[in-house]
Every structure is written in structure tokens, then in C-alpha cells.
Amino acid sequence: MNGTGGPATDSASDHPLLELRNAFKAFGYVVALENASLSAYAGSVVALVGDNGAGKSTMVKVLAGVHGMDSGELFVDGLPVTIDKPSDAQGLGISTVFQDLALVEALDIAANVYLGRPIKRGLFVNRPAMLEGAADLLRDLRIRVPSVRVPVGSLSGGQRQGVAIARSVLQQGRVIVMDEPTAALGVRETRHVEEIIAELRNSGRAIVLVSHDLELVFRMADRIEVLRLGAVQGVRETKSTTREEIVGLITGLLNEPSVGGHEPVANQVPA
């Protein structure tokens, strides 16, 4: 899997598989990301938390190639890379499960799982292979659907989430970014998504988990990064932090000077 480096176990803990450094992103006069950084390690879950408008979704979209950065550096396997469009991110092995799931309701499950990268046979789409592949994948992930031929529009919220996750798995993503994967789900479905996340982590993938749900975050994450007003407010090992501390960082009551002296929203717009 991890072709470039040395033994996977060593490099997993030492070097981040994905590293974002000093990202700036402004929409007009609104600064969404201001000197924000993120590291994701193979076989590990990093949670990205923060209040509304903290920049979580912007960071997700930067990593997915939906938005370009104004400035900042991105490294995959320690090598500098650029992501200008969604296919760049996919090519680098970064798959994203968006909060709105980005599914096409009118298409069936198989077509959605292979959206943008259908299996081809000559000039044509290999439908049988896509049906088989999608069915196998959903079976592996134990996502229960009536048939991979049914349109996604007819599925429940949990099933849709499953289809969206299946797609990111299929892209052979080494890094899987999930934006609020359980926001629309019930208790049972949330448990199932947690199982899937754990399986993906155990298979050596790096997971970036964006969530408002601190219960979920404390159950799943190895590290927690708190964003506030577009900047990193603090990064903690889950083992050695408390909910109170994380909440304090989210609300800005706690400040972490080492991150570079966060100041109230800057008027300095990056050039």
C-alpha cells in the first residue's frame, strides 16, 4: 500500500501522511483560514473541531480541491504537492465525504459509488462490473441497501452516508476526510459509521474527522485539533485532554500561545 517510504509502522507514527502548513484562504474580505495547519497520520484519526465559521469546512474544501488556497503549503508523504481541482486531490489519494454527501439522487447506488471514475470497457461503461463492485463494497462495509440499482434519492440518511463513504473507500484514498459524517444520523446509524471509521483507520488510512459532536470525537479521535476564527487554537492528544479543555479552546476561553499568538479577527487580508 504504502509504497514510497520504509516500514509502514515506523513512518506511520513519525511523518504525517498529509500535512497542511500555514494555509490562508479569504473569500472577499472574509478570512476563512488564517495560518491554519493540519497533520494527519496513517492509521490514526485526527478530529477537527470548532464553532460555526471556524474554518473547518473551508479546510475540508481546500483538501478536496474544491477551493484553492490563497497561500500555504501541502505535503503528502513529505513531498510538496498542489491541489487545484478535485481530480488533483483524488490523484493524491485524498478522498472526501462531504457534509452534503455530494450524491446524485437520480442515479443509482452503483453509478454514485463510481461517480466521476466509472469502470470502462473500451469506449463504454462496464455496468456489470460497477454493479458487482458496488455490491461487494457495500457488503464489506455492511451497509444495508435493497439493491445497488436503486436510485440514491430513495435511500435513508444513513444509507446515503454509507454510499458516500463507500465512494471514498473505493477511490483507494489513503487519506479520508469526513465532514460531519454523523450529523444527520440516528444512534444506530452513528454506531455503524463509527465502526466503519475504525475499520478504515485500522487498515492504515489517515482519517480527518470533522464534527460538532464531542462525544463522537472523544470516542474516535487519536488527536483533536481545534480551529477558531480560521486559525489553530490548539492540538491535543485525546488521551491527555478533557472535554472542558476542548470546549475552552473552541470558545476561545483557553488560548494556546505556542500556536503563534492568536489575535481577534485580523483585518490583514493576505495578498
Partner: protein, 344 residues
């Protein structure tokens, strides 16, 4: 909240405890019943039976040859208007591009340009008009309704201005054969329609391009973040639409043996009617070339049947209007049964 309103078919499928993803589909009978084409075929059969009782010559080979031949123009353009609607666009300019094709080929032939070159130039004009439409819609982000409405005026205005708005005749016999000849008794026009229809159908249903344009129509943003080059594909769709309209216009000149400035007026509405009646959704993502073939056939059968029934032809419009609205009502109903979060 939508859970309570979900359709009974879906909840029963779920309640059946299917715990493994399968590749199975609906049973054949179910599939036929929910298919948008089923009602159309039933309508055609019932209407045909009724007309036959009143006027036996309706079923004659000659009459059906006529019905099919009249459907050809709407269908050839409609096949690609289906692409436009499935990709959640709209092309109102096909009637004007149709007349551009008709007059371009006629004028070039009249000026002594070789037949193949005249046809190529006429179709190329259609491609260029489609390119302009596609670029304005996708890169300047003007709504397709406005862009193609503008093109409707511009293309017809230019065609009339440049050619002087006079009918052009006669055209070379070797050219007229293209629209008037037949092969083994089958009019060539019908042969073209079958070839174009099969190719358009195969591209839409079985190629990555067809799948991508369906995804674009179903959820443009999802298609984009999945790495599909949304704008490029949409531009190609408008180019195909323009090319098919100019091609059909060229065929019309061949069939008439002259270039008529009056052809194609209101043609875009007939085309869109056929596409909509055929079950293609105005909201993108859903639609088929086979449905459009049936839609074009319904329009042609109605026109023919009502004449045989000696019903005032102006009443035909009343029926067409009712059928269009009914077709969309059925589409809405189908979507509401099919999709849980039904918002349109």
C-alpha cells in the same frame, strides 16, 4: 421528517430485511409499470385503435410511413435536446439553428458549392451556434433560458438577413434525393432517424460521457467535486444540440427541394414537447432517447389521426397542451414516489 412520508414500496423493500447489497433490480412487471414509457405506449395503442375504427386507412403502410417521416425532424433534434434537458439545461434556439441549416445549405448549393461541402458548412454553423450557447451558459454563467432565447433571435435574424429572406429553388436533384429518396421502400429520412437515434441512445446510456452528463443534470456540484469536467461536457452537449438542429434543417431543404425561410418557426417548442412527453424531466438527471422517440411519435400520430378523424386541426394544439401538462404531472408524481427528500 421525510421518513413518515416515504413511499410504501421503499419501506416494504427495507422491511423485507435485505441485509446484503445485491445487484438485483425490480421485477420485469414492476419495471414496465413504473417506466415513463408504458403510459405513452398505452396511449398510442388506444388512440390508434380508436382512429382505426373510424378510418381503416390509418393502419396502412403508406399512412404509417407518413407518420414516421413526419416525426423524423422532431426526433433527430429531440434526441440531443434530451441530452440538454438531462444535463439540466434548455435549448430554445434549435428552431432558429434549424433554419440556419436549411438556408445555408440551400444558398451554398445555389451558388454551385459541392453538396458535401454545403452540408458540412451548414452543420458547422450549427456547431458554432451551440458552442456560443455552451460557452455563455457555462463560462459566463448566464442562464440557459436567456442565452438560447437570445440565440433564437440572433440565429433566425442573421439567417434571414444574410439570405435576403427569399425561398431558394431549385436545388440540385442529387441533393434532393437525400431527403426524398428511399432504400428498399423505406424513406431515407427514417433511416437517418434510426441511425441517429441508436447512436444517441447508446452514448447516453452506455458511455462515460452519457453517465457524466446525467450526473451533471442530477447534481452539478456533486459531479464537479467528483472530478467531472462539468463545463466542458455541458459545452459539448450544446454543440451536439446545435449540430443536430442544423443537420435536420439541411434535411428539410432536401425534402422540400428548396430553402424556405419560414421553416423551423415554433420548431423548438415541438421538440421540447416531444422530449417532455417522452418522460425526460425538466429538472435534469432523468430522461431517455427512447422516450423522446415515443414523444415525437405521439405528436406525429396525433396530427395524423386527428386529420383522419376530420377534427379541426386547430384542436390539435389543445390536445398537445394537455398531454404536455399531464406528462409533467406524471413525472412529478413519479419523482415524489421515488425520492424521499422531494423538494421540487
Amino acid at each position: 421528517m421525510t421518513r413518515q412520508t416515504e413511499s410504501s414500496t421503499i419501506s416494504s423493500a427495507e422491511a423485507a430485511g435485505v441485509d446484503r447489497a445485491t445487484t438485483g433490480g425490480l421485477a420485469l412487471g414492476q419495471r414496465i409499470l413504473v417506466s415513463p414509457q408504458f403510459l405513452l405506449v398505452a396511449t398510442i395503442v388506444v388512440f390508434s385503435a380508436f382512429v382505426t375504427l373510424q378510418s381503416p386507412q390509418y393502419l396502412s403502410v403508406l399512412n404509417w410511413t407518413n407518420i414516421l417521416r413526419n416525426a423524423v425532424f422532431i426526433f433527430i433534434v429531440g434526441a440531443f435536446s434530451t441530452y440538454v434537458l438531462v444535463s439540466a439545461g434548455l435549448d430554445l434556439s434549435v428552431g432558429s439553428i434549424f433554419v440556419v441549416g436549411a438556408l445555408t445549405v440551400a444558398n451554398l448549393l445555389f451558388a454551385g458549392v459541392p453538396i458535401w461541402l454545403s452540408i458540412a458548412v451548414a452543420v458547422a454553423f450549427g456547431v458554432v451556434a451551440g458552442l456560443v450557447n455552451g460557452v455563455l451558459v457555462n463560462y459566463v454563467q448566464i442562464p440557459s433560458f436567456i442565452v438560447t432565447l437570445g440565440m433564437l433571435y440572433v440565429a433566425r435574424g442573421l439567417a434571414t438577413f444574410v439570405t435576403g429572406g427569399r425561398p431558394i429553388a431549385p436545388l440540385p436533384e442529387a441533393f434532393n434525393v437525400i431527403g426524398q429518396g428511399d432504400i428498399f421502400g423505406v424513406p431515407l429520412l427514417i433511416v437517418y432517424a434510426v441511425v441517429v437515434g441508436v447512436v444517441a441512445h447508446v452514448i447516453l446510456e452506455y458511455t462515460p460521457f452519457g453517465l457524466a452528463l446525467r450526473a451533471i443534470g442530477g447534481n452539478r456540484e456533486a459531479a464537479r467535486v467528483a472530478g467531472i469536467d462539468v463545463r466542458r461536457i455541458s459545452v459539448v452537449v450544446y454543440m451536439l444540440s446545435g449540430a443536430s438542429a442544423a443537420f435536420a434543417g439541411m434535411l428539410m431543404s432536401a425534402r422540400l427541394g428548396s430553402g424556405q425561410p419560414s421553416v423551423g418557426t415554433g420548431f423548438e417548442l415541438q421538440v421540447i414537447s416531444a422530449v417532455i412527453i417522452g418522460g425526460t424531466s425538466m429538472f435534469g438527471g432523468i430522461g431517455s432517447v427512447t422516450g423522446t422517440a415515443l414523444g415525437a411519435l405521439v405528436l406525429s400520430i396525433l396530427a395524423n389521426g386527428l386529420i383522419l378523424l376530420r377534427i379541426d386541426p386547430t384542436l390539435q394544439n389543445v390536445m398537445v397542451g394537455c398531454i404536455i401538462v399531464a406528462a409533467v404531472a406524471i413525472d412529478q408524481f413519479r419523482r415524489s414516489r421515488m425520492f424521499r427528500a422531494f423538494r421540487r
